[in-house]
Symmetry: C2
Subunit: 309 residues, 2 copies
């Protein structure tokens, strides 16, 4: 069970403190994720899954899911299994992306990547295990006060965000684009819409579905999420250039080294910053009808562009 008695409810005043809000919800997510993966025989696979899942991520995705559910009148308990599932899917995508056959990364979140610790074979399986658990967890743990049809819709959205129409499709185009310096803005947008924005969108949309939103509100949530998804990627590209490895917790300057086409390489740093801010403004505009209840999601949108790691 998630203990939420002492948790700050969705704030309806202007004294909202984002840092405290994020910290509180991060702790809730960490606890739920910790409980979601026990260590039993065969220990190695559970340890490998936990190694990456509990590596101290910012939990932006699950927090987006919880915040949307609360904004739309639902509770943290209703959305927590879905929130855990999106973090499991996100973690799985990082483990597989870091593999030698893919991006071949040695560091992630300031720690050795999964395959550097457990070997490639176990890392592949740890990803598969997290993915399987994500779907099992949503279907099994979502409380009964969420209509079963809504839970199935969440499964559909998560599957789509992860599969060839989402993350996997974006990653394939990204791999095909490697080493090419003539990537069009259209292709770059496709990659990031699918690699990054699709899962962020699923977080927000599924948070709404669990709370039982109307189809009109679902459209608003979708546009909010798509805008912050692209802003998130632009900021990631900027940070790859401007931040240090220590700040990022992963290899810095990788894009430039690989002569990768990025938003800053197309638009320049300053123009990229402006675009990211415009996207965040557009995202927040979508939430106007939700009034004071939208404060956390708006603050998270601004947080995304102001972060330095």
């Amino acid at each position: 069970m998630v203990a939420t008695d002492n948790i700050q409810k969705t704030p309806e005043d202007a004294t909202f403190k984002l840092a405290a809000y994020l910290k509180e919800r991060q702790r809730l997510c960490d606890t739920a994720l910790d409980q979601a993966v026990p260590i039993i025989y065969p220990e190695k696979i559970y340890e490998a899954m936990r190694y990456s899942l509990l590596a101290g991520g910012k939990r932006v995705r699950p927090i987006l899911c919880l915040a949307t559910c609360e904004m739309m009148g639902g509770t943290i308990e209703m959305a927590m299994p879905t929130a855990c599932a999106v973090e499991m899917i996100h973690t799985m995508s990082l483990i597989h992306d870091d593999l030698p056959a893919m991006d071949n990364d040695d560091y992630r979140r300031g720690k050795l990547t999964n395959h550097k610790v457990y070997g490639e074979d176990v890392a592949i399986l740890a990803g598969d295990g997290l993915l399987a658990l994500a779907f099992e967890f949503v279907a099994l743990q979502t409380p009964q006060n969420v209509a079963r049809e809504r839970v199935l819709q969440v499964v559909v959205r998560l599957g789509r965000a992860l599969g060839a129409a989402g993350l996997v499709g974006g990653q394939v185009v990204d791999l095909e684009s490697e080493g090419k310096t003539d990537i069009s803005l259209e292709t770059l947008n496709f990659i990031h819409k699918h690699k990054t924005a699709a899962l962020l969108e699923a977080c927000v949309v599924c948070g709404g579905i669990v709370a039982g939103v109307s189809s009109e509100d679902l459209q608003r949530l979708t546009r909010y999420a798509q805008n912050i998804g692209l802003a998130f990627q632009i900021v990631d590209d900027i940070l790859d250039i401007t931040a240090t490895q220590e700040e990022l917790g992963k290899t810095a300057g990788k894009d430039q080294k690989a002569q990768k086409v990025t938003y800053p390489s197309l638009w320049g740093l300053e123009e990229s910053r402006v675009k990211a801010q415009e996207l965040v403004a557009a995202a927040c505009a979508e939430l106007e009808p939700f009034g004071q209840r939208a404060i956390p999601l708006k603050a998270i949108a601004h947080f995304i562009t102001s972060r330095n790691h």
Copy 2:
């Protein structure tokens, strides 16, 4: 839509023809799987997914699912999305198992393995894509005459059969056991219960869940499936020794070459054959209460031990 008008219904007489039954249902599954994965942009990932999914498998798993659903009073239409999902999960596990970091196999079902054709990176992603699609497909395509709670139960069972408590867990212990010649029967049983039997069990059990079986019948189905699952693996081990590469469609004699502990290496070939037949008999005994409707599942159980590839 699946055209089932001319399909032989679950037979209730002794003139049952297994070969025709399997062929008919294999064709139905092939058609449904073909329709489940279109080729759209980015084509490469869909082609890679289709390459392994439509590589001419025997469709034992989806047929088990359909047959169980029919035996318990359900229809082919009710179980087909679940049947497709188990084949997607099975295919994904083969793609990942064949990777250089895992079993490093070049041939599967008589064709080059996925990574030999599309590269390791795309093969990893094709597996992930099939896995995501499996869950999306069940949740989206199962017809409305199947209660939503049952569909969620299917999602749970599939996730569990695939994850660390199933396939993935079995594969990890298998990898840890590699090169060891002192593997106990207990460990060997663990590996195969998880690597092979868990998904076979899910096929049968999910077919029953979709049809709305009682918990007592679910227990019977579970025991039937566990018995044929183990028999299936014993026969696989026997065939690795006795069959040619041409018959198997994959590298033969791999176990012996790797000095792998197998059932025949523990019991000898003849004793292994006897054990497999005993397991099939025990499996069929579980189905006695279902009378004539159990004929296909009994025939499939016998088919598993008499196959030569």
